[in-house]
Symmetry: C2
Subunit: 342 residues, 2 copies
Amino acid sequence: MNLKELASKLGLSPTTVSRALNGYPEVNEATRERVISAARRHNYRPNARAIRLATGRALAAGHVIPLDTRSEIMNPIFSDFIAGSGEVYARNGYDMILSVVPDDMEETTYRDLRSRGTVDGVIVHAPKTNDSRIHTLKDIGLPFVVHGRSTGSELDYNWVDVNNRRAFQRATEFLLDLGHRRIALVNGLEVMDFAVRRRIGYSDALTARGVAVEPRLITSMEMTEVNGWRAAEAGLSQPAPATAFLCASMLQGMGVRRSIEGRGLKMGRDVSVIIFDDDLSYLRNGEDVPIFTATRSSVKEAGKLAAEMLLSVIHQPDAAPMHRLLEAELILGQSTGPAPKT
Amino acid sequence: MNLKELASKLGLSPTTVSRALNGYPEVNEATRERVISAARRHNYRPNARAIRLATGRALAAGHVIPLDTRSEIMNPIFSDFIAGSGEVYARNGYDMILSVVPDDMEETTYRDLRSRGTVDGVIVHAPKTNDSRIHTLKDIGLPFVVHGRSTGSELDYNWVDVNNRRAFQRATEFLLDLGHRRIALVNGLEVMDFAVRRRIGYSDALTARGVAVEPRLITSMEMTEVNGWRAAEAGLSQPAPATAFLCASMLQGMGVRRSIEGRGLKMGRDVSVIIFDDDLSYLRNGEDVPIFTATRSSVKEAGKLAAEMLLSVIHQPDAAPMHRLLEAELILGQSTGPAPKT
DNA sequence: TCGGGCCGTCAAATCGCTTTGGAGCCGTCC
DNA sequence: GGACGGCTCCAAAGCGATTTGACGGCCCGA
């Protein structure tokens, strides 16, 4: 059932039917009713392919997910992020197109999406410092929103981000207040921009209190459980072991906990741990009582906001760049306590 | 730069240019060369929207991700699955369209995808027993491949699945061989078909050895860390506590471990644990030495196979239904050992 | 030399919608 | 009574590709 058939069934022209369905004013309300009910009755849905060609819009948003060529690790926050954005797209009649692309092919992908007209805009995931994709996208004129920011880019662009620096600064201060002095940072890879910001927050807090930043207490690895365990093993087996760990993710935190308990110590009493909690639906930080003390910011919510921003950018391409900085909450759990007496 | 422009630049008709680029035989090799190099030079890419309308194909595959209306939990295996399928689609010039949909809206979504012509076929995720989506899809004639199976459906359909029953049967036998008799099953929700199959494998193994299946040792919850912990707390605090746990996922296994270690026991010595390991990229089971003894089957690989199957179904809609049953490997880790002497 | 077949190319129709530029009808105002 | 507007509606021209059917050369065999 297509527009022409429906029109002829109604004894109307395709023009009128199209206008009736799309809410244009130049059609009599009575006929509009007639058209709408006939459309429903015959189960008519306009062909998306034709609409796209006719309007020159793709009615689709792209998410280009970089897949690290060496490690092949997918970012685990990704599924919750798209759960958030997907909802927004669905509500607005947009499709969500995913490309999982080896990270050295991203630029080609953007150019392709643009010149073939597959999408109206894209979300940029996992920005690095001085990320070249921002230039590329500005260059080819494809609307985009970055989830995160890229230090070093002199361009202004649309982004949604968490205040990573502040979150880690606060967490570090909290540990300092508890008397901890040897606080280990279990960071993500510092090619990622957010990881750099987190380290800065951490160092700033230490420095402000006159506590030296010790490189031996800082690790920067992919955010997995095993790497968390490894970092804790290193931090706890030193002559002057860490008394607290600040982790960039829940999974790392779980690895740290495994190391602590494997040594017969108790988390929250002998060693304190704070994590960054993305509030992933399948990785909740306990239920009523949080397991980990955490700085929390929902990644699903970020996905929603980014999608909304993208749609607005698509509709008003010439508007000034938009920014949205989210603050993480500091949540008190069972994994922190006063520094043990030396 | 579109086809017409390119054609006029070359002094050729659009027809010829189109044929040259698409490898049709009725065009002179010399002109083909000329066309191809001109296309490259002018950076011409055919407009996907036009191709879709002209050919009547969507050149896109849909993944409808059910979002549990109550718990809002995304399945964590999902990101690795689409990493696998995405690669296949990309290689074949297909787009991947994702719809994250409240589970009571899935049917509407399928009908919509079909009648608006957004996709050529879909992958069905997370089938339940007697899943109505299979009927719906057959009914509306949209090609599909199920990741998993649905017991109770009398229809024959395309699927890619792991031999869940066998995997859990083998794991249970392995624990029995180690002398364990009180083996707890930490299962997923048994509305999911795969969870039912796993329980059957578990019970079959016990029954075959004359060990009674004790309901008090079986839990069936969403597969999170906290639920794993909870199940272990229950299983370990009974008068005759479990000596081994068989978990449906790595996250549950981590929760079980937390409970074990929280009681001052040692996993692998005092209590044994086997997990089902989906080989998720961000949740590796250790590195060289696996942490958990596990039945392992890569969900990314399953994604690849499902996508390949879907493409083949799209191209040959009338072929007989295809099936692919994957066997899980049994991997020996550090989490299992002989049952402690009573 | 003429007709038939093959090769290479093209004009035009098509896909299913949107959108521009009227057209017809009726009522109002001068 | 005629011009002008406002309502409704329609015919036709797009969007940018694919694809059908046909046509002009050229070669070959009769």
